[in-house]
């Protein structure tokens, strides 16, 4: 129950059980009161009293009729035995019974009382009107009342209502618990995912990203996590790259210094040796010295390249129109590669960059030069510019052969070259400078079939952009 889901469920249970309990208590109290008005005991007592009263009435009437009959104060209806076949059913039943006298009800609804008495010649029936009191109907009414009382007494309505209420409430509560479980799962699932993502990120899984399932606050949190993770990954990569570059720069600086120290005396010594050589032997010596000097010059170029690579150029940021700079760099490049076609897809708004102009020029020159060389005669180079997420993007695509997997992996590492000319430090220097400017260079899919590079540079703030 330490999980968010468990806490949500516990919160639901606590939040619903208390009001449910109160509702049940109020309902059962009201039920108790309402059932108090319908007293079965009262009905039971009344029906018993009525029964006793009616019986007393009947028996009094019966005894009175019997006395009057015996005193011959009432004239009977005589049923002679000779005409037994015409007797009413009840008279005949009495005649066939072993009784000497019998009282029974007759008339519609039993509103008359008959006293039957056997005589020598048949049966005498004495009849009395009960004054409109229908005894048989009263019997039926009493039976129904007793049945109702019995039916009510056979039930515990208080228990029935309470159990029904509890059962229905429990069913509704359990049914409502199901969507809560679902909702709790839906709420806690992305948070658990976020927690797992953060834990994984902390453990060094820099490429870990979360899937955005929806657009609510949780979705925004997932977006924020993914953005933060991407930023951290890039920053880390840059940091690692800059740290590596720092080591490489230190090595290059030392190497350049040592080579420079050795090359100058070697060159002077060789030239001195040539000067002192007799003229008869100068032909071979000229050739040898020329070779040595040529190699020394090559080494000096390398030393200069190493020095440039090792140098920390000053960053003097200023705001400029990137499209203008692109056009200028391409114009400078064209004479060196006249057979290459140059195309543009530039942001017409003229994206404003806030960076060191010299460093950006160097970066563009390097990328355009590389692209033109890769494209070769008849090939094409395309330059793209646009703004994206507060940064200005420049892309350079060529129609060259592209880069293989190994080249892609070690592209920005220094002293590796894939060209006939150059030192293999150009891309390393360009990326280092881009990082110094607050941007970066990355490899992208080439739109012309060859390689493609993307340079991101910080865009100028709105105030600067407007001022230029």
């Amino acid at each position: 129950m330490h999980s968010l889901r468990g806490k949500l469920i516990v919160a639901f249970i606590i939040a619903t059980l208390v009001p449910l309990g109160a509702t049940i208590w109020i309902t059962t109290s009201l039920l108790e009161r309402s059932l108090g008005y319908a007293t079965t005991e009262e009905l039971n007592r009344l029906s018993r009293t009525l029964e006793g009263t009616v019986r007393q009435f009947y028996q009094r009437e019966r005894d009175s009729l019997k006395r009057e009959a015996l005193d011959s104060r009432v004239v009977p209806t005589a049923y002679p035995a000779a005409s037994i076949s015409n007797w009413p059913e009840d008279v005949r039943a009495f005649w066939e019974s072993g009784e000497t006298e019998r009282s029974s009800l007759s008339g519609p609804g039993g509103d008359h009382l008959d006293f039957m008495r056997k005589s020598a010649g048949g049966v005498d029936v004495y009849r009395r009107d009960l004054g409109g009191i229908r005894m048989q109907e009263l019997s039926e009414e009493f039976r129904r009342t007793r049945e109702l009382v019995g039916s009510l007494e056979s039930r515990d309505l208080r228990r029935g209502f309470t159990l029904t209420l509890l059962l229905l409430v429990a069913v509704v509560w359990v049914v409502s618990l199901a969507p809560i479980l679902f909702i709790a799962h839906r709420i806690s699932s992305p948070i658990r995912q976020l927690t797992a993502g953060l834990t994984g990120f902390a453990a060094g899984q820099w490429d870990r990203r979360l899937e955005k399932g929806r657009d609510d606050e949780v979705g925004q949190a997932v977006d924020a996590f993914n953005g933060m993770a991407e930023q951290l990954r890039r920053s880390r990569e840059r940091l690692v790259y800059l740290t590596q570059m720092s080591s490489w720069q230190s090595l290059a600086r030392k190497t350049a210094h040592e080579l420079k120290n050795s090359l100058t005396p070697i060159r002077l010594t060789v030239e001195e040796m040539l000067a002192r050589q007799p003229l008869a032997d100068r032909a071979f010596m000229d050739q040898a010295v020329q070779i040595v000097v040529s190699e020394i010059e090559t080494l000096e170029r390398r030393v200069r390249a190493f020095s440039e690579f090792a140098s920390e150029p000053p960053v003097n940021p200023e705001v400029f129109d990137l499209n203008v700079l692109i056009a200028e760099r391409v114009a400078l490049l064209k004479p060196a590669h006249p057979d290459t076609a140059y195309t543009f897809r530039l942001d017409v708004r003229g994206p404003r960059v806030h960076a060191g102009t010299d460093l950006v020029k160097g970066i563009l020159t390097n990328l355009l030069e590389n692209a033109a060389e890769a494209a070769g005669a008849g090939g094409s180079v395309m330059t793209v510019s646009h703004s994206q997420g507060g940064q200005v993007v420049v892309e350079v695509h060529d129609s060259g052969p592209g880069l293989n997997h190994e080249a892609r992996r070690t592209l920005f590492e220094p002293t590796i070259t894939f060209k006939k000319r150059g030192m293999g430090l150009g891309l390393s220097i360009a990326r280092k400078n881009a990082l110094l400017l607050g941007g970066d260079i990355t490899l992208v899919n080439g739109e012309l079939g060859g390689a493609g590079f993307r340079v991101t540079l910080p865009s100028a703030p709105e105030s600067h952009a407007a001022a230029v």
């Binding site: 029974s104 019997s139 049945e147 019995g150 039916s151 228990r159 209502f161 029904t164």
Partner: protein, 195 residues
Amino acid sequence: MIRAARRASLWQAALLTLVFVASPLAVAAQTLTINAAGDALRVQARNFNFLEGPVLARLKEGRSVRVDFELTVLSKPEGATVKQAVQGFTVSFDLWEERFAVSRSGAPPRSISHLRANDAESWCLENLTMSISSLGIGRDTPFWLRLVYRVQDLAPVAEGPGDRYTLQALIDRLSRRREEADLAKSVSGGPFKLP
């Protein structure tokens, strides 16, 4: 405390003794006798009363009661059934006259009214007959009898709704008290020989 425990044991012993003594007396009190009228075998059961207790209470509520009698001829006590006769009666009570009326179901139906309780019980037994010739028992062959009566549906009829899946039906079901089981009683006797 020991004295109290001893007193309790004495009470228990006395109660058990009473039960042991009373039980055979109670059984002996309900004895069966037989008589014949022509080919009809009839039984008489002394003190075999059924118009009492809950049955009588129901009758005095104005409702009628259905009583089914079952007379079984056995070859020996708890032995195989030789023949069985079943007869149903409907008993009602005249609330004002305080007399019983009984109707015999089946063919031919018969009914009688203005009876006292003992007379009504006797009338039921008189109308529970068995054909002697159909028994297939010789005059000297002993047989045993078991008489059982069952009173059906003693509980008041709860007028619940017909549909079982309504709120009212649910309340009705949950509010019902424990229903009384059908009342039944039996008495056995023998050996008998055909008269």
